[in-house]
Every structure is written in C-alpha cells, then in structure tokens.
C-alpha cells in the first residue's frame, strides 16, 4: 500500500512551492503564468540585488519609459499573497541548490546573461582606458551598482566607435547624441547626466562586420536615430543600394527587413547639424591601439581601432564576411563593444558553453545526457540565449510555466516528493542566520518611494540608487 496516499500532507493538494532565481521579466512572467494556471502555488523569487525587475530597470533605455509599463504586471504579481520577493540574496553564494532542494518542489532559473561577449582581438585585455562593453555603459547610465564607478571619459575626444549593430548599439549611440535637456527628463542617473552634460562626443560611428541586410537592430530604434535633431547621417549608400537590388526577391518577401531597409535607404532629412552618426559596414575589429605614453603610472587612453575590411560571400541566408586583406584605422577616444551578452553557469546547473545557455527542452533543464532534471526549469536569456525583446521573453517564460504546470498535473517527479516544503518560511531564517539582510517587497517599496521622492525634486520619474549600500540605508532609518 502506498503510504503517501494516506499521508496528511498529500503532495498533490498542498501548495506547490516554486523558487524563482532572478527577478527580471523572465522570472516575473514565469511566476505570473504559473500562479494563473496553477493557483495552488506559492512562488518565492530570489534576487541578488535589493531591487527587482532586472533588465527592465537596468537594460531598457531611459528614454523608452513606455517599455517599462511591463512593470505594472510585475507589480500585480508581487502584490499577490502567494508571491514572496526575497532580495539581496545571491544564489550560489548566500544560498545553495542544496538549501533550495529541501524547501521547494521546483526551481526556475531566470538570472539572465550576466556577462558580455568578447571580441577576442589584440589588446582587448590590456588596461586601455575608455574601452567598455555596451553592457557596462548601459549599466552605468541606468544605475546598475556593478558599474557605478565606470567613469567613462567623454571629454577626451569628439568621436565614439560602437562595435556591433544591434539595438543596444543604437541605444548607447542615441544616449551619446541626445540633447541633455531631453535626457534630464528621463530616469537616467544624475551622475551619468553630469558626465553626459560635459560630453564632447559629436560623432558616433557604428560598425558591423557584415552588410546592411545583416544588421540586427529593429525599425523603431533605427527610426529614432534618423529623427535625432541637429545630427547628420553617413553611410555607404552605394553598398546599401547594391545589396538591396541584388537581393530584391528575398527582401520583398520579408516585411520587417523590407521596412527596415526603406528607413535606411531614405536616410535623414537633415543635411546640416553639428553632430553625426554613421553606419559603417564590412569592418571586423583587429586591434585596439592606445596613445603612446611612457609613464607606466598613467593610464593609457585608446587612440584608434584597427579594422579588417571585409567583403560578403555566400547566399543571403548564410552571408559571411571574408577579409579582403585591406586594413583601416579609425581614430576614436571612446570604444563601446556591443556584440552581445552571455550567461554564466551557476552552481548546480548543467551548461552548454557553445550556446551559452542551460540545456533544456521547452524550459525543462536537461543533464549532459539529455535526461530531464526533475524540478529544475529555466526561462529567459538563460534558456534561449541573449536576444529578443521583452515580448519574446514573455512568451518564452509562458512556455516554461506551461511545462511546469503540465508536469505538476502529470505528477512528474519534482525535486523531492516525500517531504513537506516550507519555502521561504524556512529559507529566510536560514539567510538571517548567515548574516544576510533579506529585502522584502515591502522593503523595496520603501526604497522605491525614496527614489520617486528624489526624482520629483529633479522633475524626473525617479532618481535610482546607484549603490547597494545607499539603497539598503533607506531600510535602516
């Protein structure tokens, strides 16, 4: 006779305890959908920072406040009595998989892509000043504590080179070229605004290794660039025309590409302006070059980037850049590398180094032999790689949620089926014993109120805390 059947705490009727690691869109949308589809669930969301929302707060450009409306949905989730936010807890350091396994039926990993891809070129690892990943630069102006002290120098030169042609590349370029008065109305951090106020950057050159048909930015962001006031636009119109005319059949069937190319071909109506931006194609970075400087105690600034000039080969769906052997040097005082993000493996997770994701089937984590791992799930960039808009992550999170709910309904094995789970009721006291000041959602609302208050004084939506200590101090007073 099955003992479990008669046990007081039948696992099929007691609440399903779900831990979510990471509080960005992937975590919140998964939580939302599981709570909706399987009401008898308790969700505990763990976040490394005392502040929720991940890239909605730290990734979305400050001049795109409408994108942040998604937070209202997250807010509703957070208000649900079945949901608990536990901030200021680092998974893998403060909290281990072993801790969680005892207190949860399942875990969703949605901590995103915490690192940037590298170019793998000469001098990339040298301490040359004013070369940053776009991720760091975005984090800096958006108040991500990790990059609070980035200190980009925007005075030393009038030219910035951005390597990569995705939406993040356009975001950082737009921030560099947008009028300071416009920026001051956004929730961009005050320290970034100060630096940008004195910025001498007038020209931004955005570089891609392939051609115009291979860009990965989208129409909205390109249109915004084309509408920048007092700004001229340069590109190789000849190349664009050629690429468009030789691939006209394919482009006409691809509506997003067709529309994007129309915007590009049209260019800007501005023919004058003291600022400019350029799209440069067929360039692969080869080397960063620093200013000559004999004093080893003084940091060396970047002076130029050397590029291979490429030509395109192969069919449109698999177009590759082949170096022609010719080189080109671009003088610049600031380099932003915007060639993508990557995830890092955390404790207890299998990891596909090539793809930079946790191997999974529709969100269910697989081990190295492709076997489903009971009770372990993944969502967002950690699941499918660092690309797509928030909506992509939303659908992807819903998929993970649906798999979780279907696993519950099919009574599939979870982390361990025999013990009753207490979730954060037990984990929070353990964390306190370890000396960690956990941050509840109520605590976060206090921090947020301070941010809003400081924002009102400056006529902006909020003034973000750039340092964890400062945010935490709100809770001690």
């Amino acid at each position: 006779m099955n003992k479990k059947k008669y046990s007081t705490f039948n696992t099929s009727s007691s609440p399903f305890h779900l831990a979510v690691i990471g509080s960005g869109p992937a975590g919140f949308y998964t939580a939302y959908r599981v709570l909706k589809e399987h009401p008898n669930t308790l969700v505990d969301m763990y976040e490394a920072l005392p502040i929720p929302f991940g890239l909605v707060r730290y990734g979305v450009a400050p001049d795109h406040p409408e994108v942040k409306n998604v937070q209202n949905r997250f807010e509703e989730v957070a208000k649900d009595s079945r949901f608990t936010f536990i901030g200021n807890v680092k998974y893998g350091e403060d909290l281990t998989l072993k801790d969680l396994k005892l207190q949860y039926d399942a875990i969703v990993f949605s901590y995103g892509a915490g690192q940037e891809k590298t170019l793998g070129i000469r001098n990339e690892n040298e301490p040359i000043k004013n070369i940053f990943s776009a991720r760091a630069f975005v984090g800096w102006y958006n108040g991500l504590p990790q990059y609070r002290d980035l200190e980009p120098d925007l005075i030393c030169s009038d030219t910035a080179v951005v390597i990569g042609q995705g939406n993040v590349a356009l975001d950082v370029s737009r921030i560099l070229l947008t009028d300071i008065v416009e920026l001051s109305k956004t929730d961009i951090t005050e320290y970034a605004l100060e630096t940008l106020k004195n910025s001498q950057i007038r020209n931004v050159i955005i570089i891609g290794r392939r051609g115009p048909l291979q860009v990965s930015f989208t129409a909205k962001e390109l249109r915004e660039m084309m509408n920048l006031p007092n700004t001229k636009f340069y590109t190789d119109f000849e190349l664009i025309k050629n690429e468009l005319s030789t691939n006209v059949d394919i482009i006409s069937k691809d509506r997003p590409l067709k529309r994007l190319m129309q915007i590009l071909e049209k260019g800007m109506e501005n023919t004058s302006g003291y600022k400019s931006w350029s799209l440069k194609f067929l360039r692969s970075p080869d080397e960063f070059i620093a200013h000559e400087n004999d004093d080893p105690s003084r940091p060396k600034y970047v002076r130029a980037v050397r590029f291979h000039i490429n030509r395109l080969e192969g069919p449109l769906e698999n177009r590759i850049a082949v170096p022609t052997g010719e080189m080109e040097e671009l003088e610049t005082g600031l380099v932003l590398k915007s060639v993508g993000y990557k995830s890092i493996p955390l404790e207890g997770l299998s990891f596909d180094e090539n793809k930079g994701i946790v191997p999974n089937h529709k969100g269910k984590i697989l081990d190295n032999d492709n076997n489903e791992q009971p009770g372990l799930y993944v969502a967002g960039w950690l699941k499918r790689g660092p690309q797509g808009v928030i909506a992509t992550t939303m659908y992807d999170a819903y998929e993970t949620a649906e798999v979780i709910v279907s696993d519950i309904k099919q009574d599939k094995p979870m982390l361990s089926n025999d013990t009753f789970k207490y979730g954060s009721k037990v984990i929070i006291p353990i964390l306190h014993q370890r000396g960690i000041r956990t941050v509840s959602y109520k605590d976060w609302k206090k921090i947020e109120e301070k941010e809003n208050e400081a924002g009102r004084a400056k006529h902006k939506p909020r003034e973000k805390f750039g340092r964890v200590e400062d945010a935490m101090q709100v809770l001690d007073t």
Binding site: N40, E66, V67, A219, R259, V389, M394
Partner: protein, 171 residues
C-alpha cells in the same frame, strides 16, 4: 522540521483546518495564510480595467476567435479599443506595454472585410507589428483599433504565440 514546530515559530499564521478549497475536497490541507484563499479561484486578479457595458441598442458587436478556436461575441462601446474590451471581458490578449506602442503582444488578425475599413497603421504601429509572431496581411495591434459604428460585426482572431512556438517551432 516538524510541522508543529514550524507553526509554533510562526504564531501569526493560523491554521484553518475546515476551510478547504473545492478542488481538494475530502483531503486535509493546512492553509497557512487566510489571504491565500482569495486568489484561488479568482481569474480576474490580473485584470486592469473595468468598462461600463453599452446601453441597449447602442453597442457594436465584436467577435473574438481565441487561440483555442472558441468564438466570443461582445457587445462593446463605441470608442473602446480592442485592448480595453479584452481586458474588461477577461479575454486572454496580452498588453505588455499597455497600449503605448512599445510591444506587439496585443497582435490580432482582422477579418479582411473589416481590415480595409480601418485607418492605415502608423509607422510606429508597423514597427511593432514587424516584431509580432505570425504576422499576416491583416495583422493589427489590438490597442490601436478603436470601435466605431461601421466596425459593427468585426471579427478578430487572437493568434497564440506560445502555441506557435511549442508546436510549430516558430520563434
């Protein structure tokens, strides 16, 4: 930890033994927090907006075809957007950016007969439609379609992005 020890440590969480949700009839379920109950069978928790139903004879009909193929007919107010209508009537249509033209989650496919009656989409709407899953010739964003007298009887289909992704491998 034994359950009794647990509850001793949490004196605020009273155990209610006789309050058992319908779905778990005849099973002993300790519910540790009373508030949990409120949300158990409530599907409208995440609903944003309430709208007053139109007066007799004043509304316009709109038909929704859900991703499951179900047809739902609503008598809607003139001036309400499809986004407003779906939210008020708990029809599953996402609206991540709440109608601010920053996403494509309220993508609907409009009956061709009615598509031509609609105003041309703006560049901004088209930019977002470009990012929609399963874009068609008569795709629009639900937040941009506002009900008018001449749209009476319109049919819109809600595509299922999750379904597309799962069964057809589209992304």
């Amino acid at each position: 930890m034994h359950i009794n020890t647990f509850f001793k440590q949490n004196p605020g969480n009273k155990v209610i033994w006789n309050n058992i949700p319908k779905t778990t009839k005849n099973k002993f379920v300790p519910i540790t927090r009373l508030e949990q109950f409120r949300k158990f069978s409530n599907s409208r928790v995440f609903c944003h907006k309430e709208i007053t139903p139109p007066k007799e004879g004043e509304g316009v009909k709109i038909n929704f075809i859900t991703p499951e193929g179900e047809k739902i007919t609503i008598n809607a107010n003139i001036g309400d957007s499809i986004m407003d209508i779906t939210q008020a009537h708990d029809i599953d249509l996402e609206c991540a950016c709440e109608g601010s033209l920053a996403c494509s989650t309220c993508h609907v496919i409009v009956d061709p007969e009615y598509y031509d009656k609609l105003d041309e989409p703006t560049d901004e709407e088209n930019d977002m439609l470009d990012l929609a899953f399963g874009l068609t010739e008569t795709s629009r964003l639900g937040c941009q379609i506002v009900m008018r007298k001449d749209l009476d009887g319109i049919t819109v289909t809600i595509p299922s992005a999750t379904r597309n992704m799962r069964l057809e491998g589209k992304k």
